[in-house]
Amino acid sequence: MKPLVGYRKPAPGTQPNHLYPPYVSSIKRAPKRPLISIPVTLSEITGPTFPKEVASPDAFDLTRQHKGEPLGERIAVSGRVLDEDARPIRNTLVEIWQANAAGRYLHKNDQHNAPLDPNFTGEGRTFTDDDGRYRFITIRPGAYPWKNHYNAWRPQHIHFSLFGPAFATRLVTQMYFPGDPLLEFDPIFHSVPDDDARRRLISSFDWLSTEPDLSLGFRFDIVLRGRNATPMER
């Protein structure tokens, strides 16, 4: 039988710890005991795959899900999904969700006193192509207040959910915007210890995907865990 090849552990500091006390919700929800390392089995190196139907061809465009267009600054968010060896992750599902331009989520628990937009739900889905590329059309989400500490505001962000090829490559993250003054004060952003790793959560303004008279472009590349080296065939 072929030996099983697992996925690489993250480099120190490049992923948040579960407990980060400045993010108050982590205190009662992060496990207190150390995680237990386990041997590689098929259960971690396999993972779900999805039929194309779970993302309809127009599910990438969050500005066309209702009768009218949502209010706000229209943007294109695009990039590539790669593994740690820069190989494209093909045909993988990408799910996103976000607040509207006023910083309000279409969710019963969001009590922020800002208007809902009848033309904006804030959810999208797509698959990467053969080069690992994805693209969404949306509006720039607003910042919004939360209860973590006095006068706490989340920087503008879009939530991303990705599967990759295996259970072990599952990633949920958030994309931020360049130059956002709130990043400096955000404990969720700062939960990532390593400066370079943290900066990779910030998208870049992108002329190439900016369309004249239509929309600004932002680029956000996502890297999923890479595979350990394959042992030499005997």
């Binding site: 039988m1 697992g6 552990k9 993250p10 480099a11 490049t14 992923q15 948040p16 980060y20 919700s25 982590s26 205190i27 009662k28 929800r29 992060a30 496990p31 207190k32 005991r33 995680l35 237990i36 390392s37 386990i38 041997p39 590689v40 089995t41 098929l42 259960s43 971690e44 396999t46 993972g47 779900p48 999805f50 779970v54 790669l82 740690e84 799910e95 996103i96 969700w97 607040a99 989520y105 969710h107 628990n109 969001d110 739900t121 804030g122 999208g124 939530h159 959910s161 259970f167 599952r170 990633l171 993250t173 958030q174 969720i188 790793a197 943290r198 990779r200 890297v223 999923l224 890479g226």
Partner: protein, 188 residues
């Protein structure tokens, strides 16, 4: 040059907007095998229910085959068992799903692993998902399972579901984030 994986960030409180479309609490529908109903709660460090968590399930079919190219076991079924579920907790922190009891999948040494379900847990307050497994009670393979064996004996029980009598094929399994009986979570 290799780069590092993108950091994880919490799903936050409003993930249902983007994730609910793939909710799936019946993995068994249309598939052969022994149906089981698994129910439980997610509890925080104060024992309070977590009403805004979501569990993701990944498992093999009744014959121990994963629906994935990496698993080369032969198959000829017209509608393969997909093996993925996504189940949010309700206002009381409860979840419930129906599935097929997975068959044993071979382990790293070629010997069978005990039947188990892979589970990722996401919620506000978790900066990364938690990864755990649910095993089945009274399963002879549990004693030789390569993953259960690396878990200290005193904590193994947190991974093994309990039958909820008198219901047949009904199991209870809870996720305790902290405390004396904190669920075992894995680094994998």
């Amino acid at each position: 040059m290799p780069s590092h994986s993108t950091p994880s960030q919490t799903v936050g409180p409003f993930f249902s907007i983007g994730l609910n479309q793939l909710n799936r609490a019946d993995l068994a529908e249309g598939n052969a095998g022994e149906r089981v109903v698994i129910q439980g709660r997610v509890l925080d460090g104060e024992g309070h229910p977590v009403p805004d968590a979501v569990l993701e399930i990944w498992q093999a079919d009744a014959d121990g085959r994963y629906h994935h190219p990496e698993h080369t076991a032969p198959r000829n079924d017209a509608t393969p068992f997909v093996g993925f579920g996504r189940i949010p907790t309700d206002d009381q922190g409860q979840f419930s799903f129906t599935t097929i009891k997975p068959g044993p999948v071979h382990g790293p040494d070629g010997k069978p692993q005990a039947p188990h379900i892979q589970i990722s847990v996401f919620m506000r307050g978790l900066l990364r998902q938690l990864i755990t497994r649910m095993y089945f009670p009274d399963e002879p393979l549990n004693s030789s399972d390569p993953v259960l064996r690396v878990v200290p004996e005193s904590r193994r029980e947190t991974l093994i579901a309990r039958p909820t009598e008198p219901e047949p094929n009904s199991l209870e399994w809870n996720v305790l984030l902290q405390g004396e009986n904190e669920t075992v979570f894995f680094d994998c």
